[in-house]
Subunit: 146 residues, 2 copies
């Protein structure tokens, strides 16, 4: 039996950066849609972008074939440009030997990616992408609701 094919759009927002932040993920499988969101009182834009991906993968109960769509090159390049390989090889140090930020989230993300077969798709922000615009609004909402 083939893996379920899941499409995910994620986005993070952060009012002030750093400041109160929110994230949102839209999960699509067949004609089913599911939305999850989250909030944090003091965080950064990049942590929220990351958290959206981590939490969306954590939600999937069985192993899936996942296409994660994000407008964050911070997140997408980590895998598509293989940044993360270098980080792990150097013991979570950047190219200029400084500690990689948000290591906790990156490690949790790696754990989730072990459970699934994940591809990252970089999309342009604030553009004509309907789904990206939706999660963008949802992420901003997630802050305002508090």
């Amino acid at each position: 039996m083939p893996l379920k094919n899941v499409t995910i759009y994620t986005d993070g927002a952060c009012s002030g950066n750093p400041g109160p932040g929110g994230w949102a993920a839209l999960l699509m499988y067949g004609d089913k849609e599911r939305v999850i969101t989250g909030y944090e009182a003091h965080t950064t834009n990049n942590r929220m972008e990351l958290a959206a991906v981590v939490e969306s993968l954590r939600v999937l109960k069985e192993k899936c074939l996942v296409a994660v769509h994000t407008d964050s090159s911070y997140v997408a390049n980590a895998f598509n440009e293989n940044w993360i390989e270098g980080w792990v090889k150097r013991g979570w140090k950047t190219a200029d030997k400084k500690p990689v930020k948000n290591q906790d989230l990156w490690e949790e993300l790696l754990k989730q990616m072990d459970r699934h077969q994940v591809t990252f798709v970089k999309v342009k922000g604030h553009s004509t992408d309907e789904f990206n615009n939706r999660v963008d609004r949802l992420a901003v909402e997630a802050i305002k609701l508090r």
Copy 2:
């Protein structure tokens, strides 16, 4: 003999942005008032805000002590937040290294400010400020007259 103390209110309008634009300036010296206005067929809101200031200073024949009132933080911050110092230092590049827009008008403004002693006062737009409301109406009129 002390410098003449001139109070100036400026405003710009732009129908469409970009689009046809107008600007107006109200110059006050003692109990004398003078109004100048201008029109451009294709311009931006910020160019009109800038042009209003440039032209109002150009009108003054002798060196004056001038208080320019504008509702544009684009204009006011350039001097009150010292943006312009950074631009000149960086060779007319913005903080993220992109070319400063409207360099022609900024340079002409600097030239005029050399001739006078100018202070910028930021006022709130579309508010209770009688003089700001007047130049606002005059700037919009300057477009409609064409």
